[in-house]
């Protein structure tokens, strides 16, 4: 426990089904809240759009990783076989590119996969052992069978009593304050 009074991170409501959560999220956005986040035990179709998330850089990063991996793979082989360590075997061409395809392909896939995975983790800011939502006792259920909607305090429209009432009006169970104890 810190000595400073805990800061308010937001208000969180709990729902029992993904449909209720999705409907509530849409209404929250319609009511003008901008900083909204939903937490679910499995991906729910349409939910990321409902919280206002449209575009992810993961595919672009993956493409970059793939192109980079492929160029590295072919470049390395060309440099080794034609420049650094040329072996003249019966006068065959040094840049025997068909023989370089398998390694180029493997490094393309490797580069793209590494960028996809680590790009996804980095954009999600993981690993992140602490997050205020974990302070809500019932939030442990978010990885089993409960669906949570959090309206964050940094939202310009946020006002504790008003926002809590709003969540209750959406039929959320267990509306809790989310404290940031850091």
């Amino acid at each position: 426990m810190s000595e400073r009074p805990a800061q308010l991170f937001g208000v969180m409501g709990e729902f029992s089904t993904p449909e209720d959560l999705l409907a509530a999220t849409k209404k929250t956005r319609e009511a003008g809240y901008k900083h909204v986040e939903a937490y679910t035990p499995f991906p729910v179709e349409g939910l990321s759009e409902a919280v206002g998330f449209k575009w992810t850089a993961v595919p672009l990063l993956t493409l970059m990783g793939g192109v980079g991996g492929g160029l590295t793979g072919f470049g390395l082989q060309y440099w080794v076989a034609a420049i650094a360590y040329p072996l003249n075997i019966g006068g065959r061409p040094l840049n025997s590119w068909p023989a370089f395809i398998p390694v180029t392909f493997e490094l393309t896939v490797l580069g793209a996969s590494i960028f996809a995975v680590f790009g996804m983790l980095a954009l999600n800011k993981l690993p992140q052992p602490y997050h205020p939502v974990f302070n809500v006792e019932r939030f442990g259920q978010a990885s089993t069978d409960k669906f949570f909607l959090c309206i964050e305090a940094r939202d310009p429209k946020f006002e504790l009593a008003e926002t809590s009432r709003f969540l209750q009006s959406l039929h959320a169970q267990h509306v809790n304050e989310v404290k940031d104890e850091e």
């Binding site: 991906p43 993961v58 082989q77 392909f105 995975v117 983790l121 992140q128 069978d145």
Partner: protein, 461 residues
């Protein structure tokens, strides 16, 4: 969402999940195997035995390092022997996991959900066993780093035109990508275990592994994007790995190896043996941990159908090998084909045909596909058959190639058998540890399945 339907049978298809399950019940059932179930006497005895087998593997490898590869049955001309037979066999088994995870994911096959996690684990362990063999077959495994391109003081670089170097890249890429794919899939489940763990050390371990996953909508969005891309990348990768392994043979001029049918027929064989191994593991697993509601009879039947289909492709491969030998008229190829039928190793070839082609035809019958003991025995037979296939390819071609003066014979020694049995023990021991240490079925995907089932998604789009 479009779901590929089974052929219409005139009645409702069986569900992929026992009816009546909820988000909480699937979570409970799968996570309790890891978190709360006590270690039974069967698990402990099995683990102790397997640990002993792994110690035997250590002994066999230790002695090999002290004495050199002369303790094995390999000689000139049969330089490859058990090491390469076992390498190709294990890497083939390692194909089913990523195939199930990636290709069936792209094809939207719901039945992958219950089996993908442990099939992926199986893949990783099989690749680990496979990687061991070329490493120790070098004779000086501490020099294996020579195969990687690094700026050495000798100024020497790897020969990138050699399929053996392609192999290094293909297998290490496959191992790395499979590991990442597996871990990404595990991430939400590790968070579930973290939230449900009761003891402090479980909370700490799963807390660290889950990286603070909290299931936010934005996280899921990026997660799904990355997972789909990984599936798309892993699909050609799976097909490339055994293709490259087949190049080890096909780019050589040895009779029986130098054929263009090798890449597709190796890939089909890999999937064949991989599914057989998935069945070998799934049947005891569902029984031991009461997971019959998740890995249903319909799943087993589906895998049997995949085995039947890939088995027929393999049979076609065997046929084309013979056809091409005679069609080409090359006397060495014809001679080799006759060696398979009449040579000193002919019994192995006939056993191979029996295991890989004749017996699996029983899978045409629904009664056999839905008979669990029969399927289990069948999976063991197919695994044996696939091992024999690699033995036939490696040994028969090498013992009798072009010049009779260079012919030889091969018989493995006790150290060959000890090493092979040791990797079987290592593989099974890792499976034992995995089943109790991590969720053997993807929990978050099962919750998705519960969600879809409750909305009657099957068969509709």
């Amino acid at each position: 969402m479009s779901v590929t339907q089974n052929l219409p049978t005139g009645h409702e298809p069986e569900p992929w999940l026992e009816p009546g399950h909820t988000y909480a019940s699937v979570t409970d059932k799968i996570s309790s195997v890891v978190l709360t179930r006590p270690l039974g006497i069967g698990w402990l005895l099995g683990f102790a035995f397997l640990f002993g087998v792994v110690m035997m593997l250590n002994l066999a490898i230790g002695y090999l390092i002290v004495k050199g590869t002369g303790i094995w049955g390999i000689n000139i001309p049969i330089g490859w022997g058990f090491a390469i037979v076992n390498f190709v066999w294990w890497i083939g088994i390692g194909h089913a996991g990523t195939l199930i995870s990636a290709i069936l994911y792209l094809l939207n096959q719901k039945w992958r959900t219950s089996i993908n996690r442990f099939a992926e684990a199986m893949t990783l362990f099989a690749v680990a066993c496979a990687g061991l063999f070329p490493l120790i077959h070098t004779g000086r495994p501490w020099m294996a780093y020579y195969m990687f391109p690094y700026p050495s003081t000798m100024g020497v670089w790897p020969q990138f035109r050699s399929p053996l170097i392609w192999d290094v890249f293909a297998v290490s890429t496959y191992g790395t990508v499979s590991l990442m794919f597996w871990f990404v899939g595990l991430l939400p489940d590790l968070a579930t275990l973290r939230d449900r763990a009761k003891s402090r050390w479980q909370q700490v371990i799963f807390g660290m592994l889950s990286m603070g996953w909290r299931g936010s909508a934005r996280h899921w969005h990026r997660y799904q994007s990355a997972y789909l891309l990984l599936a798309g990348l892993a699909t050609p990768l799976v097909l490339s790995v055994h293709t490259v392994v087949s190049f080890d043979f096909a780019t050589g001029i040895v009779p029986g190896w130098h054929t263009t049918i090798f890449p597709p027929y190796f890939v089909a064989g890999a999937i064949y043996s991989g599914f057989a191994m998935v069945l070998t593991l799934a049947i005891p697993l569902r029984k031991a941990y009461g997971l019959e509601g998740f890995i249903t009879l319909r799943h087993l039947e589906q895998m049997a159908k995949v085995m039947l289909a890939t088995g027929l492709i393999v049979a076609y491969g065997y046929f084309i090998e013979f056809f091409m030998a005679f069609y080409s008229g090359n006397k060495f190829d014809v001679f080799l084909a006759m060696q398979r039928l009449h040579g000193p190793y002919a019994p192995f070839y006939y056993a191979l045909i029996l295991c890989n082609i004749l017996t699996p035809q029983l899978l045409w019958f629904k009664k056999v596909r839905r008979n669990i003991p029969a399927l289990f025995v069948m999976s063991l037979i197919i695994n044996t058959g696939m091992w024999l296939e690699r033995f036939v390819i490696v040994v028969i071609s090498l013992t009798r190639d072009f010049m009779p003066s260079a012919w030889g014979r091969y018989s493995p020694t006790v150290w060959d058998y000890a090493t092979f049995a040791g990797t079987l023990g290592l593989f099974t021991m890792l499976i034992f540890l995995f089943v109790r240490g991590l969720p053997a079925i993807a929990i978050s995907e099962m919750r998705e399945l519960v969600h879809q089932d409750s909305h009657g998604n099957e068969g509709h789009s």
